[in-house]
Amino acid sequence: MSRIFETPLYPYQRSADQDAADPVRHPVIIVGAGPVGLAAAIDLAQRDVPVVVIDENDKVSFGSRAICFSKRTLEILDRLGVDPALTEMGVTWNAGRVFFDEREVYNFNLLPETGHKRPAFINLQQYHFEKFLVDRCRQLQSQGKPLEIRGNSKVSALRQQVGFVSLDVETPDGPYTLEADWLLACDGANSPIRRMMGLDFVGRVFEDNFLIADVVMEADFPTERWFWFDPPFNRGQSALLHKQPDGVWRIDLQLGWDIDREREKLPENVIPRLKAMLGDDVKFELEWVSIYTFQCRRMEKFRYDHVIFAGDSAHQVSPFGARGANSGLQDVDNLGWKLKAVIDGLADAALLDTYDAERVLGADENILNSTRSTDFITPKSEMSRILRNAVLDLAEKHEFARPLVNSGRLSVPCVYHGSPLNGPDEGDFPSRTRPGSPAVDAPIPGGWLLDTLDGGFHLLAINVNNAEPIEEAGFHVRVLELKSAGAGAIGERYLGNEKTAIYLIRPDQHVVARWREYSEKAIRRALRRALGNDLHGDVA
């Protein structure tokens, strides 16, 4: 049987660029066709920015890899026009159990808030996720959007020039040279682009190995996240069991530092471990096994002149909390509209430095959370282990200790507090929708709020009837009028203690500013600020 990750999806094809007398210049070249690179390509092509994606491979990723996708990621995919069948294919889960030694310490239900189109999390193999993105790329191409994916094409050299980047690309037909006004390096944690540029990637190394196995089995485990601290079948270590689509289960087993990785990966060593965990009578088949180590680190900056890093190439976290691919998608969300504005000459290139400022903030938040989870899961000292075990012992009997149990703090989108693009916050409004926050979804007449915020600037006018569409700085600000009596999702999420509200929302659905009343002048001013007009020191 040919599996999805064994089928070439974008096989090498000779490009006319390879026969050009002089290197061909493209507005944007994206290196890497993983979740981040593909999402970036879709966002830009949708905005009519021509993109060329270069990948050294021609298939989706091998093995499940990133499996847990957050609500914010699904919302971004909706904006990118990705087939909603992706969410339906994923396994939606809300419940989990935590075990310590031989006992269940407690179980939880995330009790997701109602009034959102998308669930809190779905589990889906990365190869399915990537396939959906490739399908969306093909759909855009068929609609005449300027998007190209070049498989089996490997960047072998990079030269930063004044105002552009020059690249050497190796192909089965030999090398050729390309130029890009902007280069997006979405080439993963081991980013060759980062290495070619000699840039640092510093942070904390965790001396640990984890075995991950995708196991196909007919099992009656519920759709829950099960996490073990120090279980009998993996003494002194941790274990995780999580369900994916197609009857595939993801198992993570901590192995410690001093192991022989190649030996541990052999089926004759993996299978007894899994039998010890699942029981002798459970029939299963190994689909994929890998051993990983991890680091929590980031680049000092994510933008270096005309080269911009996004996703794992810019920042790397431990896997606990699903903060890898999900934060990469937020990078793309943040970058797309800014790069479009700069390319169109509607904003100064300094706007791209706010991609750096806002996403560095997001990366630091993710690194902090995933480092803390890792410290809890794999205590680094005897006292750290004693305290960890004390928390687990207490959690069994006492509710107070349960919030201290840390087997991963699940990804939530970053609030860009203090961003230089944020405008006024004038009123007694809810904290969760303050300037810098991603707009919170809510049901509205005929659909969902976030579905109406489709990639441009929007004005949300709640119980306000004099708001007018605005043309400013080359942007068209559309108005969405809503009514709310105070109760209900819109009232709770956007009005708080106020009766009326005007929200200015960015193309990435983050809130710029909010007021009680409509003022055309204030909105124009906030819009110019959101485009980076105040970045040169003349902040009022």
Partner: protein, 62 residues
């Protein structure tokens, strides 16, 4: 009799836990044990109420 709080009451639990681990980071095991002893005495003094402290002593038993 006042009742010991055994529902979650730490406003930023992860921050507290990280700060506690950070205190121990540079200590030897003996120093860590002594630090914990001092910490619990400081907290006991803050609580003050003997009824609460008696319930806390019982809650910590295995």
């Amino acid at each position: 009799m006042s009742k010991l709080v055994l529902k979650p009451n730490l406003s930023r639990a992860d921050d507290f836990y990280a700060a506690l681990l950070a205190e121990h980071e540079t200590l030897t095991r003996d120093e860590s044990d002594a630090y914990n002893a001092r910490l619990l005495l400081v907290l006991a003094n803050h609580v003050g109420d003997p009824d609460i402290l008696a319930q806390a002593l019982a809650a910590a038993r295995k």
